[in-house]
Amino acid sequence: MSRRNQSPPDPLVERLAEDHGDDLLRYISRRVRTSADARDIAQEAYVRLLRTERKDLIRDPMPYLYRIAANVLYEFELRRREDSSGLLRWSSEYRVQHAEAAPQLGGDAESLALQDRLESVLRQLSPTCRAVLLLHRNEGMTYEEISERIGISSSMVKKYLSQALQHCRTHLKAFR
């Protein structure tokens, strides 16, 4: 535990962070979803956030948070594998392959169940919430474009979007 701060940056995390913020987020989200200790990860990330220089954090807070979270995840997994097998080298290789497959949802039972659950949560949304969420997320439409097409203000678009996200979050939480 004491080496937490000096832990070497995970080469995979570094690479993902350099390439795309999205890949990094995907990496985190898969692990946050599958790991039972999402709370412990958040707790540890929180502690590290408090320790960081404020100006580093506010330069670009979202990627900064993701990078911290990814590093915490990496160490958690590392420790778990060390505990169970001690085969650091193997686990590291395994993780690289695994992470590269991660961006696509696999056909495993867990992913399928999640997908089902998502479909039903989307169906529960009001038509406007659903439209705003999917047009922005899947069609890449900006708030302005959505505002124009649906005939509501941009600030209403944001309101509907956060409502939609919150609904999905609440109902998927019960699933976990």
Partner: protein
Amino acid sequence: MEHRRQGDEHIAAEAAEWFVQFRDKQAVDPAAFAEWLTRSPAHVQEFLAVSALWSTLGVRGSTGYAPEDLIAAARAEQAQRRVVPLNAPRAESSLGASGVYRRRIRRFAVGIAASLLLGLVVWGGIALSRRGSEFTTAVGEQRSITLSDGSVLFLNTNSQVRVRLGRQHRDIDLVRGEARFQVARNPQRPFVVVTADATIRALGTVFNVAMAKEGTQVAVIEGRVELRERGTSYAQPPLSAVDSAASNGTSEIRKSQQARVELAAGERAAVTRKGIEPDVGPSIESVNAWTEHRVVFRDKTLAEVVGEFNRYRLQQLIIDDPGLAGLRISGTFDPSDPDSLVAYLGAEEAVQVSMPNDGNVHLSRGHK
């Protein structure tokens, strides 16, 4: 755990709001966000959770929802929120001082003439290029509007439309009343009309849409349109509609098939609570007539005729005697001249016309 949950919900809501702000590039104050994020581990957790959700939503692949359907459904929901009561309050009418009005109403023809103030037919073509325009007609008023794409919109009495023309779309919300659309052909810009009940999509065509109590009535004069029931086919992904049809038997299958129909010239259909019903609604003849200032009745009951006429008048015709409602009449009337019907009815032996002080015209069985 239980007492924690409420606080978490609140933090989850804030996390979603922050996340949404981040998607709007210039909207975030990073220092304020850093302050929020470092309030507690729960804040970090919820922000990571909403981020993870975002990522999960993106890798789901095809959702089964077409963007145009999503937009149409959202617009329909918004249009319904904005619907206002059908009849404008009398206080807002331009009938003038009520004392003068009351005295005049005792006199048959002059009383009717007062409503001509509102019965004025405005029939000017107005060229428009603005976006998000709204057009309204008062009771008894009709107007035609030429849109910037060359389409012409005829608005009947007591109606309201909202028009948004974009590079890739032409979106019309019929908020209330009736309108006829003469659509300039342009396959790159679908022309979509949305009402509380239905979505109507056209390329180049002329069609009429009327919102009635029972639902939305569509009649096609030229070309073809696609008519959809609002909130069926696009409220659920196509797959699940098929699933439920398969498990619930044939009537469900028919219903899901009827959620979308194509209408050719001369065809009509209505979208009601029961779904899409073919051959329901005003005839093509009468739909054509209203844009020519005519109202056509062929062997209609007095109740139907009165109902149609009342759309054009603040002063209502009221059938006092239920035995009279089924009386059948035929004729062509000019809605801008409302007393033509009253004069016609006054000549009928079976009908007695009276005008008490309530400002309406009452019809009862004749004692001649």
